[in-house]
């Protein structure tokens, strides 16, 4: 019909920027990962290392630990967000007085800078004047010290993530619930199905695409978390909250271990892409079943 030249011309600036700042670094990290390269070590320049960096990774306990910890964090926080978010979304489907006010206040954390989220939680939990340690001690006699107890630090980071992101899960599930056809639900109730049966056999299957989308987006974000955790605990105490993003950052920036850091970056990138791909396949499957 029309020539494609104009179409490509309109697309060109977008593609050019993505190629230069998006694709080029990807190739570069692939290349650097094959070398030993630390500008502040005594050997000069880049030394060819073939796959040695990758071999080192497989036996790197700290790296594997941090990968496991990130997975645990993502699993726990996303499960909590989904359960709480689903409950809250269901209460919002029907209109009630005050619903708009609740909703508006509730989504405030959603647009806050992650670094500011970290700052607010730090202010809450500082020993000395933070209200959390003070009231936990006064009311329950709990000794709460974020910088000392690993479990408390991990739990606090999970709660911070739940605080920050449950509004997103709630709003998205609410959008899904609102768009759901009403007739099957009413029909099922007429036929004598109880609430649990309706939820299990109608709501969940019909919500599957939205649920998977939410899981997909939240999982990816939880796996790449850095800013707020860095601000709250700096990955400590010890390595209790040193998730993979912080781990890579530590290896790359302060230690300037460029070759090994590149290999690590690429491996994590690869995991992410595989995970993305699996979730996309799941989404497509569900989409097909519905048609």
């Amino acid at each position: 019909m029309r020539s494609n030249r104009m179409g490509w011309a309109l697309l060109a600036p977008t593609l050019a920027i993505l190629a230069v700042v998006g694709f080029l670094p990807f190739l570069y990290v692939l290349y650097v990962g094959l070398f030993d390269w630390n500008p502040f070590s005594n050997q000069l320049g880049m030394q060819w290392a073939a796959v040695n960096n990758y071999r080192r990774l497989v036996f790197d306990g700290a790296f594997l630990d941090s990968l496991w910890r990130t997975g645990l964090f993502a699993f726990v926080s996303v499960s909590l967000e989904l359960s709480l978010g689903f409950l809250l979304a269901q209460t919002l489907v029907k209109n009630f007085p005050g619903r708009t006010v609740f909703r508006t206040l509730y989504v405030l954390p959603l647009v806050m800078a992650p670094i500011a989220v970290g700052a607010t939680w730090r202010l809450l939990t500082i020993p000395g004047f933070g209200p959390v340690p003070y009231f936990l001690d006064k009311w329950f006699g709990i000794d709460y010290r974020l910088g000392t107890f690993a479990d408390q630090a991990f739990l606090t980071v999970v709660l911070m993530d739940v605080w920050h992101w449950t509004p997103f899960v709630t709003l998205t599930l609410l959008a899904g619930l609102t768009a759901m056809p009403k007739e099957p639900l009413e029909q099922a109730q007429v036929d004598g199905a109880n609430r649990w049966q309706v939820f299990r056999y109608l709501t969940i299957p019909m919500m599957m695409p939205v649920l998977l989308t939410v899981i997909f987006i939240r999982l990816m974000d939880a796996l790449r978390v850095v800013d707020e955790v860095f601000m709250l605990t700096s990955g400590g105490p010890g390595t209790a909250t040193q998730f993979i993003g912080i781990h890579i950052y530590r290896a790359v920036v302060p230690k300037t271990d460029y070759g090994y850091g590149s290999a690590m970056s690429l491996l994590v990138l690869y995991f992410t892409i595989v995970l993305c791909w699996l979730l996309f396949i799941a989404l497509a499957q569900v989409g097909k079943q519905r048609e």
Binding site: N4, M6, G7, W8, L11, P13, T14, I17, L18, V21, G22, L24, P25, Y28, V29, V32, L87, L88, G98, L105, Y106, V107, L108, P109, V111, M112, A113, I115, A116, A119, T120, W121, L123, L124, F129, Y134, W163, L171, L174, A175, G176, A179, T213, I217, M220, L223, V226, D227, M231, I244, G245, I246, I248, Y249, V252, V253, S262, S265, T272, C276
Partner: protein, 284 residues
């Protein structure tokens, strides 16, 4: 009959109880930050109360009158605004092209870039840093520590999302409208300016605001790709922590200033935030 009234009443109590709890839990961390920002150092270490009795202005005035902090603020404004404008303009052209022409392979490119949006940003800090300091180098000038460097970089994160979001909106505008205008003798650019842009204007506004919020909020790259000249407000906020003897009141004040613009924007995009954050996959 009586029991159903009882159950109904219990339901209302439960509903309002749940939501009141949720709102209190949501608001307290933000409220506490404002409380801290209103107190002097001495007041802070009294027993914690949640009341604001006085307002200690120097917490706000000191950063706001400090030339270094002023530069952070200006940088954040310039970078977020330029990036959002650039992303919106490019996304408009790109989605117009994607919806009006059949361009083989173009969709795959965007699928690929969206996986980048999902990748841990820490994995990209190093390659971007090396490319900025070693590849884009003309004499002494590099992209490192420039506003331009961050403006371009944030395109990697904002453009794929903007294109996904705008594509759906653009596809909703019938091609017949374009063609009617062609018949009337309008050129390609006239059609874009007079027919398409007015129709997608709300979508452009959402794209602009969400891109702006992301660029304003970003920390990790801003911290590692700048040193002096192009530092942003988020890096300024993080700097409070590493310095010994933190002035918590001032930090709370800076954090409050840092979340203010995004909260104001939230008023405008609240209805579209789900569409934006799910890349258009879920519509509200």
């Amino acid at each position: 009959m009586k029991s159903s009234v009882m159950r109904n009443a219990l339901g209302w109590v439960g509903l309002y109880g749940l939501w009141t709890t949720m709102i209190v839990v949501t608001i307290i961390p933000i409220y506490w930050m404002i409380v801290v920002s209103a107190r002097s150092r001495v007041e802070l270490f009294d027993a914690p109360t949640l009341l604001i009795n006085s307002f200690y202005a120097p917490n706000y005035l000191k950063p706001l009158t400090d030339p270094i902090f002023q530069r952070y603020l200006v940088n954040s404004l310039v970078i977020a605004t330029s990036n959002a404008l650039l992303v919106t303009a490019l996304a408009l052209l790109a989605t117009y092209a994607l919806s009006r022409w059949r361009l083989p392979g173009a969709d795959n490119i965007f699928f690929w870039t969206i996986t980048q949006r999902m990748a841990p940003p820490a994995a990209f800090v190093l390659p971007i840093f090396l490319i900025y300091t070693r590849v884009f180098k003309i004499g002494d000038w590099t992209l490192f520590d420039t506003q331009l460097g961050l403006i371009l970089l944030y395109c990697v994160f904002n453009l794929p999302f903007a294109v996904w979001l705008m594509k759906g909106i653009m596809d909703g505008i019938p091609v017949e409208l374009d063609e009617a205008a062609f018949v009337d003798g309008a050129g390609r650019w006239t059609v874009l300016a007079r027919v398409v842009i007015p129709l997608v204007a709300p979508g452009l506004a959402i794209t602009f605001i969400l891109s702006w919020i992301f660029a304003w909020n970003e920390y990790l790259f801003a911290a590692n790709l700048t040193s002096v000249n192009a530092r942003t407000i988020t890096t300024g906020l993080a700097a409070f922590v590493s310095v010994t003897g933190t002035n918590w009141g001032e930090m709370a004040a800076v954090a409050t200033l840092a979340i203010l613009p995004a909260l104001i924007f939230l008023v405008f995009v609240q209805r579209y935030i789900v569409t934006g954050l799910t890349f258009g996959a879920v519509k509200e």
